[in-house]
Amino acid sequence: MSSMVAQRDVFGDTMVELCARDPRVVLLDGDLANSTKSDKLATARPDRFFMMGIAEQNLAGVAAGMATVGLKPWIASFAAFIATRDLDQIRVVIAQPKLNVRLAAHYSGILTGYTGKTHQVVNDIAIMRSFPNMVVVAPCDGPEARAAMLALNDYDGPVYLRLTRDPLPVVTPQDQQFELGRGLLLRDGTDIALVCTGAQTLRALEAADVLAGDGISARVLHLPTIKPLDEAAIVDAAKATRCVLTCEEHSIFGGLGGAVAEVLGRRRPTRMDMLGLRDVDGESGPNDALINKYGLSAAHVAQRARDLLEAR
């Protein structure tokens, strides 16, 4: 097993790195710096770190104002609060004016450290990708999170960056460059395509191993960018296989599954299914228990793949 890296640690380190190389980068915190690891920047560069209190609506607006004067503000808070508590602010003063604000949405999905449904948002991808001008990115591991941050810092416009809390195995190749809107074919295969994003990609890869043991050839297409979507890679995956299963730690409504279905419905109608949270909120509990209860484990992915292949 490769080494384990937490995306939030990568986030804190990369913010320090970005501030060292770019005088216009600042970080705004919603009083969660020791959770999001923004505290690494707070201690290293207090001149670039702005604690904004427990006031997410103001947090979004202040970042927008900073962007208008030429700064490159990053906001760090929990996905649950960024995607819903300050949604009108993001719509009106960040997305509509296309301002250079990066929304670092930590603790996405349901593995949030025993906090329960108030601190989990299961529909943030659906919400964010429906906003005009908003870009949505969900890296699968630590190195990809860093590569994405480095690339997105120079992107002109608003970005929603979906990050996770706990250490994850590293699966992306060393020195993998991040290219916005570009999918990553992690495994070739001919029977079924597992199209996945975020940390759920790791469980899809495990599932591909399980399926290989059954003689099923699973292609794994990781989409770190949900918007803009790599339509060509999705169509290729559908062409190369018999069916498509989307996998995400997110609701099956409107997230990656919805985005992929929109593309295939328009460009290459394909038998498909969506694995994710089935119109339910999460709860607090140990990670393994959560992953099992909500049907996100590698075993669940493998079983759903078999079901889809056998369905007529």
């Binding site: 600042v26 607006g61 104002g65 208008t68 030429g70 700064l71 009106v92 004016p97």
Partner: protein, 296 residues
């Protein structure tokens, strides 16, 4: 700072020009907010023709003062002001609210140069103002940030989040102007009930509230440009704290049948309404001009 009497007269006249053009534009578009523009018109004139460090030829000049119209529904008043100031041709005011216009119903900074922030969803303008003021500090720039608030919109909680933060960061380069015109779109009834036109003030004791949040509060008459500009100068001289200019104003100011009537918050103008309103504003200008001639 003492404002020159002639200059004050010129600014008062510009305030009425803003009123006239606003009424014409709203009449032409068949829609638009009036009451809150008429209450802010004199302050628009004083800001854009005296106080703000701006250059109409360089609307994106990095060192310009920033102005955020948090009460974004009064956009037409700001457009008129920008047009008279030379940011774009006055004739373009006829496109207000039309399809493909740069003059949207609420300010859209992606369309019209000269707008420093997109606003419209109320209660959101002060936070970007805090960001601009804080940004000036990070960048080592000396521009100032001005945010105009409506008295109704400060019912939004975000205003107080921003007020708290502005004081916490001691943003002496940030000034908020509260257009205290005492009415909001519909408002709360007095004891007489909602069928009557009287309404309760949108906010009680705003000075005490802002002071409690750590802001310096300066009260002034928002229709007396000299008084208002003195308040601006005092705000500019304040280094340690953000300032709230509490501007006492009249909603619908300058048009007798609109003054203090909440229903003129937003209402189409008939031809007769327009003619009567313009006549009243012209008469007020003429009266002030002859009074000044007599005085000199």
């Amino acid at each position: 700072m003492n404002v020159d009497i002639q200059d004050a007269g010129r600014l008062q006249h510009l305030g009425n020009d803003i009123r006239r053009h606003t009424l014409r534009a709203v009449h032409h578009a068949g829609a638009g907010h009036i009451g809150g523009v008429l209450s802010a018109a004199d302050m628009f004139a004083a800001l854009y023709f005296s106080e703000l460090r701006i250059d109409p030829q360089r609307p994106r000049w990095e060192d310009r003062d920033r102005f955020v119209l948090s009460k974004g529904h009064c956009a037409i008043g700001l457009y008129v002001t920008l047009a008279i100031r030379g940011f774009f041709p006055i004739a373009e005011l006829d496109t207000f609210d039309a399809i493909d216009s740069r003059l949207q119903g609420h300010p859209d900074m992606t369309k019209l140069p000269g707008l420093d922030m997109s606003t419209g969803s109320l209660g959101q303008g002060l936070s970007p103002g805090v960001g601009m003021a804080l940004g000036a500090r990070v960048l080592g720039k000396d521009f100032r940030t001005w945010v105009m608030l409506g008295d109704g919109e400060i019912q939004e909680g975000q205003i107080w989040e921003a007020a708290f933060t502005g004081a916490r960061y001691q943003l002496g380069n940030l000034t908020a102007i509260l257009d205290w015109n005492h009415l909001q779109q519909y408002g709360w009834a007095t004891d007489e009930g909602y069928a009557k036109s009287a309404r309760r003030d949108p906010v009680e004791s705003p000075a005490a509230k802002w002071e409690a949040f750590g802001w310096r509060v300066i009260e002034c008459d928002g229709h007396d440009v000299a008084d208002f500009l003195e308040a601006c100068a005092a705000a500019r001289a304040t280094r340690e704290w953000p300032t709230l200019i509490l501007a006492h104003t009249i909603k619908g100011k300058g048009v007798s049948f609109m003054e203090n009537d909440f229903s003129w918050h937003s209402k189409p103008l008939s031809d007769a309404d327009l003619a009567r309103a313009l006549a009243e504003i012209d008469a007020a200008d003429n009266a002030r001009r002859s009074a000044r001639t007599e005085a000199t």
